[in-house]
């Protein structure tokens, strides 16, 4: 069963005044373990598609299935819970909770899942070790660099053990070395733990790493390219 499947997804903003077609009849399928980039120029609909897949926005028509569950008609409260259990998010601006330490930011997601406190803390520590921030557990976001914050954001996204991670322009605010480091971590997780990543990006470094590149133009899928050696470009 496909992990993500969209069926004839369309989104029209301002349908009654000046209609803007953000998505036109988009049907894509993402399988478990993919490392996929959705690319395209600004306004091509890549972020809208990502929002639809993440259940953050409702389509004007069409459907989104996550692991076989249709999320398009789900009620807001149910959808929030569904996102918590199934989807991890990494944002361009990191969006960590500023008053929490790295460890608390990661634990917080598990707290929302009502997990055991001991388990939360040990998993948070484990994830911080994985993203190379084992020594920054008690640092607050403002005490960390952008790259470090984004690594914490990746760890946070993984904390809830989601089915897949949606990353919206994750490297856009990072310098080259931090971006490469982050990509290394994500591609390693993809290869070693089969974590599914879906990116929306402009960044050529991310595109180069992707094993699948979906190109959007004017709200429609222009091309869907699969590569054999995408994230094998890891610096090791």
């Amino acid at each position: 069963m496909a992990l993500v499947r969209t069926e004839n997804l369309s989104k029209v903003y301002n349908p009654d005044t000046v209609p803007v077609h953000a998505l036109r009849d988009v049907s894509v399928t993402i399988e478990p373990g993919e490392f996929t980039s959705i690319v395209g120029p600004s306004g091509s609909g890549k972020t809208t598609l990502l929002n639809m897949i993440g259940g953050l926005d409702k389509p004007s028509s069409g459907k989104v299935f996550i692991n076989g569950t249709d999320i398009t008609g789900m009620k807001d409260s149910k959808l929030i819970d569904f996102r918590l259990r199934n989807i991890g998010f990494v944002f361009q601006h990191y969006n960590l909770i500023p008053v929490f330490t790295a460890r608390e930011n990661i634990s917080f997601i598990m707290l929302l899942q009502n997990r055991d406190k001991k388990e939360m803390l040990s998993r948070a520590d484990e994830l911080l070790d994985k993203v190379g921030l084992g020594d920054r557990k008690d640092a607050r976001p403002k005490e960390m660099s952008g790259g470090q914050q984004q690594r914490v954001a990746v760890a946070r996204a993984l904390a809830s053990e989601p089915k897949f991670i949606l990353a919206d322009e994750p490297t856009a605010n990072l310098d080259s070395s931090s971006a490469m480091n982050l990509l290394d971590i994500m591609s390693r997780m993809n290869k070693e733990q089969n974590v599914t990543f879906v990116f929306s990006t402009h960044d050529q470094r991310v595109i180069d790493r992707a094993r699948r590149v979906i190109t959007m133009v004017d709200g429609a899928v222009d091309s869907d390219e699969r590569r054999e050696n995408g994230n094998d470009n890891e610096k090791e």
């Binding site: 259990r85 909770i97 008053v99």
Partner: protein, 408 residues
């Protein structure tokens, strides 16, 4: 739950300056509200205290006809057995003061004035209202004296002073003629203008003799151990004397016009307090509005990653709660200290204001009430305002569009 508390607590200190400004606004609001109320209530308490101590008592036992017709014919028999029954009626009775009261003409030569003759037990009166401290001239009368003390105003009007003789002419019990000449032992400055201008104080036995009313009194003033026992003491007495012609009234029943005056007098301060609350409310709303709008993006992210709206609202509620509690508690403590100081050291009025107050028979001070309820009621109102203001972020969170918030 602890994590939500931690999150809310840390959130309020993210912008320390703004939080401190908000807390300060609440603190000053509580102080201003308490101060305003304390000042109003202080003058009322002083008026009431004077009225109760020098006129009605907290509870008064009378013949049931006396309230309608304040005549000596409606006096009642009072001896040690009645006294003992009164004292046994309620354990919260602290003191009892028998009085006989009637209208008489007071004269000095050709000058005549209507006066209120009060037959009192001097020693007990002093214990109840510190009457001796109000003596401006002469000496304090004793129980066995056949001498009077006059209110200062009456003495001035009759142009009498200590050592002079006062003529009293009137009617005794059941139409008996009552007249006498009395040496003026002292002049008393009453804190109530009407009393100051009319009262003649005579020891009770002498007054009873003058009025042909041996062992009769017109009222028995009862002082409870605490003013909060006023109602229960009156009730006990009414039960104890249910089969007789005596009835107990509280001061509020005896002075309804005074209560109405207080209510009327409080109208303007209440309006000002409402205005103050509105100002507080808008000030607080401004802060919460800024805090909320600044954090819409953060709210959107938290909802995106799976935080339920209810939990998010809880965190913001806790933030409002913490700020309100800190502000209100600090405000209550600060106002308690300030009011305590002014209660113990009242501001002394000077100039025309002081003269106006003295002319009304009061002390020239700005009395402050130290009643406990004004602290927690004002604190509660400010707290309630904060909770109402919280409805704004709550509404925002409930209606928040995640994507719009994330773009903000």
């Amino acid at each position: 739950m602890l994590t939500y508390f931690k999150l809310a607590w840390r959130n309020i200190w993210r912008n320390r300056r703004r939080t401190l400004i908000t807390v300060s606004a609440i603190v000053f609001a509580v102080i201003a509200a308490v101060f305003m109320q304390s000042m109003n209530r202080g003058s009322h308490e002083m008026m009431l205290d004077n009225m109760v101590r020098f006129s009605t008592g907290y509870v008064q036992l009378q013949d049931y006809r006396y309230d309608d017709e304040s005549s000596l014919d409606n006096s009642f028999y009072y001896d040690s057995s009645v006294r003992d029954r009164v004292l046994d009626a309620d354990p919260n009775i602290d003191m009892i003061l028998p009085r006989i009261e009637t209208f008489m003409l007071a004269a000095n030569g050709a000058a005549t004035r209507g006066s209120i003759l009060l037959g009192i037990d001097p020693e007990k009166e002093h214990r109840f209202n510190e009457l001796e401290n109000r003596l401006s001239k002469g000496r304090f009368i004793e129980r066995d004296d056949a001498a009077v003390m006059l209110g200062e105003g009456l003495a001035e009007r009759l142009q009498l002073t200590v050592g002079d003789t006062l003529v009293l002419i009137g009617r005794g019990r059941f139409g008996m003629s009552a007249s006498g000449l009395y040496e003026i032992a002292g002049i008393v400055e009453f804190p109530i203008r009407d009393l100051n201008n009319q009262v003649v104080l005579l020891p009770l036995p002498e007054a009873q003799y003058l009025l042909s009313a041996d062992d009769y009194i017109t009222s028995l003033l009862i002082a409870p151990r605490s003013d909060r026992h006023t109602g229960s003491v009156a009730q006990s007495l009414n039960e104890a004397f249910a089969d007789e012609e005596l009835v107990a009234y509280t001061w509020a029943e005896l002075l309804p016009e005074l209560l109405e005056l207080f209510e009327f007098d409080l109208a303007v301060p209440r309006l000002l307090t409402v205005v103050l609350y509105i100002v507080i409310g808008f000030g607080f709303f401004g802060t919460i509005l800024t805090m909320t709008l600044e954090r819409l993006r953060e709210f959107g992210v938290l909802l995106s990653v799976g935080m339920k709206r209810g939990k998010l609202a809880l965190v913001v509620f806790l933030e409002t709660l913490f700020i309100s509690i800190i502000g209100v508690l600090t405000g209550v403590v600060a106002s308690w200290l300030i009011i305590y100081y002014f209660h113990r050291n009242p501001v002394e009025l000077t100039g025309d204001a002081a003269q106006a107050v003295v002319d009304m028979g009061w002390d020239p001070i700005l009395p402050m009430s130290f009643a406990a309820d004004q602290f927690y009621t004002q604190g509660f109102f400010v707290f309630a305002i904060a909770m109402i203001v919280f409805l704004f972020p709550l509404l925002k969170i409930v209606k928040l569009n995640i994507l719009e918030a994330a773009r903000s």
